[in-house]
């Protein structure tokens, strides 16, 4: 197999980042605490790429992304808690199960509600997220393993940085290949103008559902990894505020840009932790205030997002000319 140039640089960049992290681990610069933050950032990258497919590339305004993240986390976590004993094979199977459950639920809910437009779709998915949260809070009545409103613990913590890094890499490649495939093009055309896409013979329903299922399955996968990295799952971690997190990462990064989503996801997770350190114990109450101010100021300064529609070269397959170089100013919520 001949490796194309950009793909080669992609892997070279990945190997370099991996080596850098390892070197920082060995030299003690990366404390276990910051390692945890880095792992969290990579998990968020996976979930945010899912929303990027749904909203950034297909233009379907979803405010319920965290629900699928939670479905994946609870499914994978509960399976491994009951059947797995730190067995690696079982870990991967449970991740797949988490992604599959999230994807399946997305298929069932997506087929009817993706007919809704813009804000109406947003509020319907938000409502779905709240229904899932109520389900998580009462899940222990059906399956005591799930812990209900008090949260669930006991999942074997087998996901380490190496595994998470490799999984993130696989997901980035997968999303890249999807975005630049015929399917991805069809999705982008739906974002730009759904009616025109329909007229051009694109089965819009099929592609919207496909993007939604794929994006939600990625959220489920991210959730599954989360369950194996953080010992405690709680319904409140997967409610609509968490969905806003994914949304603002995708929007601040720039709709229709994988680069933007990845950079913003990592930046955002680190920003929150850096704020904790910078503010110190005396001003910790100000963290939420400053977080909110940064959010408002950055969106006012750059309403089209950090990388609106632009992509780093190494994320673009070689055989394609750069078609995404133009800055979008109106990649709006599909209406």
């Amino acid at each position: 197999m001949k490796l194309s140039r950009n793909t080669f640089f992609f892997f070279a960049g990945a190997a370099f980042s991996f080596a850098l992290v390892k070197a920082m681990q060995l030299s003690g610069m990366l404390t276990p605490y910051w390692q945890l933050v880095l792992d969290q950032a990579l998990i968020i990258v996976i979930g945010a790429l899912g929303l990027s497919i749904i909203y950034g590339f297909t233009g379907q305004f979803s405010l319920g992304h965290a629900a699928f993240y939670g479905l994946g986390a609870y499914t994978a976590g509960a399976l491994d808690k009951v059947y797995g004993n730190g067995n690696m094979l079982f870990f991967f199977l449970s991740l797949l199960a988490g992604a599959a459950v999230a994807g399946l639920v997305a298929l069932l809910i997506g087929m009817p509600i993706l007919r809704l437009r813009s804000d109406y779709l947003g509020i319907a998915t938000l409502g779905f997220g709240i229904i899932v949260r109520v389900g998580m809070e009462n899940g222990n009545k059906l399956f005591p393993v799930l812990g209900g409103a008090t949260g669930m613990s006991g999942t074997p913590q087998v996901a380490d940085f190496d595994l998470i890094f490799i999984l993130t890499l696989i997901v980035i490649l997968l999303v890249r290949n999807f975005i630049f495939s015929t399917y991805g093009r069809a999705c982008t055309s739906i974002r730009e103008d759904e009616i025109a896409a329909d007229v051009m013979g694109i089965d819009t329903t099929r592609y919207k559902v496909m993007a939604f299922v794929l994006g939600c399955a990625l959220a489920g996968l991210a959730g599954g990894i989360y369950a194996h990295r953080y010992p405690f799952l709680h319904p409140a971690s997967f409610d609509f505020l968490k969905s806003f997190d994914f949304l603002l990462i995708v929007v601040l990064g720039g709709l229709g840009s994988m680069t933007g989503t990845i950079v913003t996801a990592v930046g955002w997770v680190f920003l929150l932790e850096v704020l904790r350190v910078v503010l110190g114990q005396n001003f910790i109450d100000w963290r939420g205030v400053i977080y909110a101010l940064i959010l408002v100021v950055s969106i006012i300064v750059r309403p089209q997002g950090l990388f609106s529609g632009k992509e780093l070269r190494l994320l673009v397959p070689d055989h394609l000319k750069m078609v995404t170089g133009k800055e979008h100013t109106h990649a709006g919520s599909g209406n």
Binding site: G127, V251, W286, Y291, I299, N335
Partner: protein
Amino acid sequence: MEHFLEQVLNGLQLGLMYALIALGYTMVYGVVQLINFAHGDVFMVGAFLGYFGFAVWGLPLPVAILTAMVACALLGVIIERVAYRPLRYAPKIAALISAIGVSLFLEYFSSLKFVFGPNYRVVPRPFPEVQWNIAGLSVSNIQVIVFVVVLFMLILLQILIYRTKTGMAMRTVAVDHNAARLMGVNVDTTISITFAIGSAFAALGGVLYAIAYPQIHPFMGIMPGLKAFTAAVLGGIGIIPGAVLGALIMGQVEILTSAYISSQMRDAIAFAILILVLLVRPTGLLGRTETEKV
């Protein structure tokens, strides 16, 4: 039967309060097509200011309510100026993110110790609660007050929108900003007025809520705000009677679910009904379907 009717009354009380908040959402949406996520937090600020007014500063109740309404109207105008106006011609999603930011700002800023503080506060009753027995049905004076006040405000709003020049300007801006500007309407002022009225209504809703369910804290606005917004969508966002209808349905669903099924299920069932309604009528109960042009 009496029990059922009493629950319906409770649902009516809650629904009318949701209506006060939903009106602000629907008016702002009608005029600038923005989901003002910070609206629920303006409601919270209103509840706190009302509480401080009559319980801490010792103002008479109507004065306290008026103070809260004026202050929140001002707050609404400032929010629009600072966070939404710079984004009026940006993608819609940018303004929504800004709204989420403002919402978080109000919540966390209010939680600071020198502002409202992070704790729950118990609101003392400004007047004793009285239960009247009307035809075997127990009705409290708070329910009557909520009913009268909300009805009065609804009539006032109806007059304002359909009988005054300001109302006509609002309706014009809702149809088309640019055409309104060409017709000599000051679009910026009209939008500010819309935010002021919506926020004042939310503040009134907040004070009534604090009197009826006497416990307040800086994050209390999230759920009522979300429910009221859902109510506005349920009725057809941008349509004022729709907001009231949606709010009344939400109130009934919530109270009846709590009473007859389980109080834990009430949010789930309320939102399940929303999704079902949207599937049948994608623009809400009273929403018009617009034909789309390519």
